[in-house]
């Protein structure tokens, strides 16, 4: 516990949380806590997701109809609100992923050029 706390995590870049949520949901519907957990785990505990920030983002995505939500029961039999990707969300994810890849590639090239 203490080790995890001491290790400094990366703050999320502005606007990337939406992309991560959409990406996480591609494996199936999940509740908020599960999404936060999944992001943290798949990023090998590198990314810090402040749980409180997660919900406004979910709210936003839901309003844009990229994800849909309904109450359900979690694996350990608890009530939770489950989010699922809508077809529109799937398309948005594809678009955003391409954009992100181009962006990181471009930034990577710039940084490498400077180093070299």
């Amino acid at each position: 516990m203490s080790t995890r706390e001491s290790r400094e995590r990366l703050e999320l870049l502005q606007g990337t949380l939406d992309l991560l949520i959409l990406r996480t949901l591609i494996f199936g519907s999940q509740h908020g806590q599960g999404i936060a957990r999944a992001i943290q785990q798949t990023s090998a505990e590198e990314l810090l997701v402040e749980h409180g920030a997660l919900y406004p983002a979910l709210q936003r995505l839901e309003e844009r109809a990229w994800i849909s939500a309904k109450w359900g029961t979690s694996s350990n039999n608890r009530k939770a609100r489950f989010y699922a990707l809508t077809p529109a969300g799937r398309k948005q994810l594809a678009r955003e992923t391409t954009k992100w890849n181009r962006l990181t590639a471009a930034i990577g090239r710039v940084l490498e050029a400077e180093e070299g």
């Binding site: 908020g32 806590q33 402040e50 749980h51 409180g52 919900y55 406004p56």
Partner: protein
């Protein structure tokens, strides 16, 4: 749409669930309950902030704040019950009155006629520009031209009249429409009982079938369900009842009489008793039509123009020039409501002004209150409320006030509706019942909200401009008269005065018009004159008509005159046709004749149209019509003597301008029906013009013919003397029925009443506008009183100092009054300018006064300033009674 998509509680539950899941996970990792919970909360971050974020991300905070404002507004209004009552009442009266007038406008102007596809219904009007005749009626062949043109679905002439209904209950006089068999197919209304005429029936002459109105069926036939197939006797002919029209059915007539017809008779017109068809024998006073579906009125009009041009080539004798004939298609609704439009728009304008003045008053009240609430506003602002938020709060309060006012106004209206409806004159067309329908409700709602926005804007903007420091400081001292606010209030009072002045001037002009009409010298004396109607039957077979020829009718008429004089109270008696009864006849009662003057070469079909009435010798003296030259009719001007006429001055001036009219000869050819073999008529007398057509019309050319020389069926008995409204008609009827028991005598009316009825629409609009004017004056008075009181209060300290320093109370009085007078005079000046514009717009409603009548303008302005002076005097008196010591300690 104002429901939040997701409740805040739902959001909270989700967060709760999240934390529970996290706690569970942490405990699985081996943490204790407490530890896990703390860690989970820490990982989540600020729960409250997340919830606030959620709340603000929703668009619904606006709605919540709105409710908050409403709730707060209700509390504020409750805290100031006096203010609330006055404001709500002012708005209620304004909205109530505006909505009342609007419901009238809605029923008459905004609703289409209550027939299917009303936009296809037109009135077919024919002008004869060569002879200067407008809407001159139509002949049978001309009607047939249009009926066969393919432009119209149906075309039907409308003729009206009264008929003697006998053989059922009491002999009665019944108003009927004589129409083509396709009339009800044209109008598109089916009977409630039985069937209508066969629209394809083209049999000449009357079809011996009759349709009854619901009212007549209930009244005279006791709602007999077996009435169909039974026969009634009309002017001695038997007609079979084929149907009863539905209750509430009204014909598209121009006058109240024409809209409340009780019987419909169909006719093919071409055969007896109608005269032999002739192109220039225009027997139909009115023709209506339904345009073929798919054609617009404009398209139909251009086809009609083409048809008229073609017919002119085909019949060069009847239509000698391009200009001899013009046919206009007028939307039927226009012919019915056209005259009422100006009156209604005037009323709506007037009532709108009253509402506006009411708004200004409430705005003023609110400003006064706003200064009392300055501290509250300042504190809210100090606590971080943005200005936009304060403005919104005050506007919401105003809208709430307006809304309450609107509801109260509607409530007043609903209660007062039966009373108000009785005030509406019969002459206003009410084909659609006046009702509080959705349109009217929407109008009330929108006008309330607009009113609220108007009177809420000034106070709200003021709150927005509040200067925090001074407001808080002033607030502690209990006064808060910012110079700007006082300025706004002055502007409001000036506006109010200007609006009131406009309304009062409109009322003044209408009042003067009305007074002028009442005081007009009508050229006849209506006092103590009674008119009784009596109709000689017109059987379809002329051979059975016992009064067919003048030799048969004249002795009967002389007998009536002789016997009538024996009735109690009767001093004078005369007989005339309907056209001879002053101010009490319909357009269709008039008999237009084509005039041919001796020695003039005008072809008969281009002859000018003139109106004539047939009268017995006693007529002129009974009505007090002055003889100018020559003589009246005498007993010798009978059926055996040569034809004579008495003309009025206008006729002599117009048609016989050269030399003395006496002894001149002319011929009259009937334009509608009757024989055309006219004889020469000699002018034996010239009388002064009498306003028997309309009080507003001075000199209409008029011919009087001797009733002993020309027959008339539409007889009227005129009596003068000490008459009794109940007994005289009965006595007269007995006298008439001893001569012929089949004749009904009905429709007794004092000429005085007929005269005031002819002014009913004018009286209505004048009374309403005057009522509004007085209301406006009162509101303006309250407004200036409020402002001056307020100024005096705010300056109590200053006045105290002045008094303490030795100012005379006279000076103080003058100072306060000057303040008030400046406002009143400024308002009057603005108002006079506006009134000049408005009065020109209503010129058509005026009689005898010019729209710029200086007496009205000056009088009203002085009245208004006088009232303002009075309203300022009371606060001024308070000002000079200020005790310098108290005043100095005032703050």
């Amino acid at each position: 749409m104002f429901r939040r998509k997701r409740e805040a509680g739902d959001f909270g539950a989700e967060i709760e669930a999240h934390i529970e899941l996290e706690v569970e996970r942490l405990r699985e990792q081996g943490l204790g309950e407490e530890e896990a919970r703390t860690a989970a909360r820490r990982a989540f971050g600020n729960v409250t902030r997340a919830q606030e974020n959620f709340y603000e991300s929703g668009r619904w905070s606006w709605w919540d704040q709105f409710w908050q404002d409403i709730r707060y507004g209700v509390r504020m209004l409750r805290k100031a019950p006096g203010f609330t009552a006055v404001a709500v009442l002012t708005i209620a009266l304004g909205i109530g009155a505006t909505t009342a007038i609007f419901s009238l406008v809605d029923a008459t102007l905004l609703h289409p006629l209550p027939y299917p596809n009303p936009e296809q219904l037109v009135s077919v009007q024919q002008d004869l520009p060569d002879v200067g005749a407008v809407d001159a009626g139509m002949s049978e062949p001309e009607w047939q031209d249009f009926a066969r043109s393919g432009i119209f679905e149906y075309v039907s002439p409308i003729g009206g009249g009264d008929v003697n209904l006998t053989g059922w209950s009491q002999p009665a006089r019944v108003r009927f429409y004589n129409i083509a068999p396709n009339y009800f197919a044209l109008v598109g209304v089916k009977p409630q009982l039985g069937h209508s005429f066969n629209p394809e029936d083209h049999t000449p002459g009357f079809t011996l079938e009759v349709l009854l109105s619901d009212g007549l069926w209930k009244r005279d036939f006791g709602s007999d369900p077996g009435i169909l197939g039974k026969s009634v006797r009309l002017d001695n002919d038997l007609y079979r009842v084929i149907g009863v029209m539905p209750p509430g059915y009204q014909d598209p007539g121009r006058t109240a009489d024409e809209r409340h017809i009780e019987m419909w008779l169909a006719s093919g017109f071409a055969g007896a008793p109608a005269p032999v068809p002739q192109r220039d024998l225009r027997i139909f006073p009115e023709v209506i039509a339904r345009i073929k579906s798919g054609l617009t009125v404009a398209q139909a009009q251009s086809r009609v123009d083409a048809l008229v041009a073609a017919l002119q080539k085909q019949f060069p004798v009847e239509y000698p020039s391009q200009n001899s004939r013009k046919v206009r298609l007028v939307p039927l609704k226009e012919t019915i409501v056209g005259n009422a439009r100006q009156t209604l728009i005037l009323l709506l304008g007037a009532v709108g002004l009253v509402l506006l003045i009411g708004c200004v008053n409430v705005a003023n009240l609110q400003l006064a209150r706003a200064s009392a609430r300055g501290r509250e506003m300042a504190i809210r602002q100090a606590l971080g409320a943005p200005r936009s938020r304060l403005i919104r709060q005050l506007l919401t309060e105003s809208l709430l006030l307006a809304f309450l006012g609107g509801i109260a106004g509607l409530a007043i209206l609903l209660v007062a509706k039966p009373f108000l409806l009785r005030m509406v004159p019969q002459s206003l067309p009410q084909l659609n019942a006046v009702a509080i329908n959705w349109t009217v409700l929407l109008f009330a709602l929108v006008s309330s909200l607009v009113a609220g926005a108007i009177f809420g804007l000034a106070p709200a903007l003021h709150a927005g401009k509040l200067d925090l420091t001074t407001a808080l400081k002033e607030g502690t001292r209990g006064t808060s008269d910012s110079g700007e606010q006082a300025r706004t209030r002055r502007v409001l009072v000036v506006t109010e005065f200007a609006l009131s002045l406009v309304l009062m001037i409109a009322a003044g002009l209408l009042l003067r018009s009305f007074a002028d009409l009442l005081n007009v010298r009508p050229g006849f004396n209506p006092q103590k004159v009674m008119a009784l109607r009596m109709w000689l039957p017109v059987p379809n077979d002329p051979e059975t008509d016992i009064y067919r020829r003048v030799e048969q009718e004249a002795p009967f008429l002389r007998e009536i005159v002789r016997r009538g004089l024996t009735a109690p109270g009767v001093q004078e008696i005369a007989l005339s046709d309907m056209a001879g009864v002053p101010l009490a006849h319909a357009r269709t009662d008039l008999n237009p004749y084509a005039l041919t003057l001796e020695g003039s070469a005008t072809p008969s079909n281009q002859a000018p149209l003139v109106y004539a009435s047939r009268v017995t010798p006693g007529y002129f003296h009974l009505l007090g019509i002055t003889l100018l030259r020559g003589r009246f009719f005498g007993a010798a001007d009978d059926e055996k003597a040569s034809a004579v006429a008495v003309i009025n001055e206008a006729f002599a001036r117009t048609y016989l301008p050269d030399g003395d009219a006496l002894g001149k000869h002319f011929k009259l050819n009937r334009v509608r029906g009757g024989s055309t073999n006219a004889t020469w008529i000699t002018v034996v007398g010239v009388v002064a013009d009498a306003r028997t057509e309309s009080l507003a019309d001075a000199g209409m050319p008029q011919i009087y013919l001797s009733l002993y020389q020309r027959t008339a069926k539409d007889l009227t008995i005129l009596l003068r003397g000490q008459l009794d409204a109940a007994a005289t008609p009965v006595a007269m009827r007995e006298q008439v029925q001893t001569v012929n028991p089949e004749l009904p005598v009905f429709g007794a009316r004092m000429l005085n009443d007929a005269m005031s009825a002819s002014l009913s629409e004018r009286r209505f609009s004048m009374e309403i506008v005057a009522l509004f004017g007085v209301t406006a004056l009162l509101l303006a008075m309250l407004g200036i009183y409020g402002v001056i009181s307020y100024i005096v209060n705010a300056r109590t300290r200053e006045i105290g100092i002045r008094l303490a320093l030795g100012a005379q109370s006279r000076n103080i009085l003058r100072m306060v009054l000057r303040e008030g007078m400046t406002l009143a005079i400024a308002g009057a000046a603005v108002g006079l300018a506006c009134a000049l514009v408005v009065s020109h717009l209503m010129a058509g409603l005026l009689y005898g006064v010019r729209p710029t009548d200086p007496v009205t303008f000056a009088g009203v302005a002085l009245l208004l300033i006088g009232v303002a002076l009075l309203a300022c005097y009371f606060p001024a008196r308070r000002a000079i009674q200020v005790d310098p010591l108290t005043a100095l300690r005032h703050d």
